[in-house]
Amino acid sequence: MLEVQNLQYQIGQHAILNDISVQFQPGLCHLIVGPNGSGKSTFIKIVSAEIEAYQGKVLYEGKDAKKITKQNLSQYRAVLSQHTELSFPMRVDEVVLLGRNPHFEISPSKKDNQIVQDALELLSLQNLAGRNYQTLSGGEKQRVQYARVLTQIWETPQEGLRYLFLDEPLNNLDVYYQQQFLSIAQSFKNDATILIGVVHDINIAIRYAQQLYCFLNGKIVAQGVPETIVQPALLKQVFDIDTSIVNHPQTGKPIIIF
């Protein structure tokens, strides 16, 4: 379990996150939505232990995140950020292999190389494996980064959990790959995985989230199963838009019409 206790974060006088307490169970897909500036990206940066100057506690299975060494953490916690550029030419498979760095001392083992191949296959990137990363489109780059992030925590740890954080991973992606990204995340997670993502598209969030969190002004104003919490009144409060809700003809899940 990933537990957040009384989390406060401010930049100067400006409070970004305001007394957040929440628990994330393994095995579920936790997705966060909210308007720009609601603090969701900052929240991901704090729970993934990138930012440390906060008040309150972030507990990885009861252990204070601030007390876990970065090196140790990197073996079971991976983060996919918005976009990553390279200044130097590098092959796609070399970029993906960087994800295995926390797991080998000097040279990658056979197993590391095999994991890279499996990840390339999972993201349908085999044909791009030998290409120069710099020449790829924005969407292709994002898929390569996703493959790299998954290789970092490819294997379920012998004991304890692995943690996957997705910080607005769907930018630059077309509809097909948006769906692919989240269904891969769903099949990747298991009972030993904590999966938390920030997503912009509310309908995509409803479709894939098992637990949905609505952020507004640095607070979580609603959380729970999407079918029960998504109501026009909540959407009016959070996004300030008037909406109608219909049910998806196949899945029966709510669909928001703006």
Binding site: K70, V79, T84, S87, P89, E94, L98, Q152
Partner: protein, 345 residues
């Protein structure tokens, strides 16, 4: 990739050995292989050199060629490290103030040397130049780095602009020292600005070689982390690299070896730019290969440049810095242009 790159290393090593032999043989006087052999024999058995050629070989040519090769390797590795650190292909030690700061530090020692007591000079003297060069180089690099950096990012434009200003400060410092120095000291200072190996001796080879060996070894140990840093500070942090510590280590390593090289042979521009660029095209961006390959290629290219410097106007000599600048500056402009285009795309 693997067989291709091992072949690459073999070819590069062979070329370097051939070039070193050529560099030893040719110059103001030519030295035959048989003379090299007998000179080495006499040297190792502790006998006096038999001919003037043998002593030219032992006392002048050999240290010069070795110092040149070591310096080339240092500048090339330093270029790889700096570019990896700043994640930018247009950075090299000459452009961010390291060389100018080191030259300034060394010039202080040179112009003050007439005022030092003889006993002080004989004990600490030989170490004063490298030490002051190191302090000067480190101070200049650190200043450039911290001025150019805003909260998170380090903009390449401000880095180059601040570096330019730092170069101006360093070189005007050298100018001032030249102005107040006495004649023989002033001449030694002038040499640096253009770079020269004509004064090479075994002491310099020893100090630079030791420094290079230690720094190359330490640099190779950081190669894996430098690879991860290619993804950026944030991603490297997620992959467990202590980015701040890595950057500090690289900066110190780099400054140490560049400063020592600069203290003895002067400012040799653009070597740190050319070698990494060519190598990335040939063998890719993996630092585990880039660092050893740049040792070989840096040594090779600077040896070629030095042979050119000696032969083009023989028996007179061209400062080597002029040759590297003539070749390097156009490449630098080309890279800047290309990098600019990449960024606007």
């Amino acid at each position: 990739m693997a067989p291709k790159s091992s072949l690459f290393f073999i070819v590069l090593t062979a070329l370097l050995i051939v070039m070193l032999l050529i560099a030893i043989a040719f110059g103001a006087v030519s030295i035959l292989p048989s003379e090299m052999w007998s000179a080495l024999n006499h040297w190792f058995t502790g006998k006096e050199p038999a001919t003037i050629y043998e002593s030219v070989f032992i006392q002048l040519r050999l240290p010069r060629v070795l110092l040149c090769a070591i310096t080339g390797a240092i500048l090339a590795v330093s270029g790889v490290l700096m570019q990896g650190l700043f994640r930018n292909p247009v950075v090299e030690p000459g452009l961010v103030g390291t060389s100018a700061g080191a030259a300034f530090g060394a010039s202080i020692v040179f112009s003050l040397s007439p005022f030092m007591s003889p006993s002080f000079k004989s004990v600490l003297g030989p170490f004063m130049v490298p030490l002051f060069a190191f302090v000067g180089g480190l101070a200049a690099t650190y200043l450039v780095y911290s001025i150019a950096k805003d909260k998170k990012h380090i903009s390449i434009l401000s880095l180059l602009l601040v570096g330019m200003a730092m170069n101006a400060i360093g070189l005007s410092g050298v100018g001032l020292m030249t102005y107040i120095a006495r004649d023989p000291q002033a001449r030694s200072i002038t040499f640096w600005n253009l770079g020269t190996f004509s004064g090479a001796n075994w002491f310099q080879v020893f100090v630079t070689g030791m420094m290079a060996a230690v720094c190359f070894w330490l640099a190779q140990r950081q190669a894996k982390k430098l690879n991860v840093l290619l993804l950026g500070d944030q991603e490297a942090g997620h992959l467990g690299v202590d980015v701040k510590k890595l950057k500090t280590n690289i900066l110190i390593l780099n400054t140490a070896m560049v400063s020592v090289a600069t203290a003895f042979v002067g400012v040799i521009a653009f070597m740190g730019l050319i070698v990494p660029h060519v190598l990335r095209l040939l063998i890719g961006s993996d630092h585990k290969k880039l660092i050893p390959a740049s040792i070989l290629m840096g040594a090779l290219l600077l040896t070629i440049a030095d042979v050119g410097a000696r032969l083009l106007l023989a028996p007179a000599e061209l400062p080597i810095g002029i040759i590297t600048s003539i070749v390097g500056a156009p490449l630098y402009i080309f890279l800047l242009k290309k990098f600019q285009l990449n960024q606007t795309n």
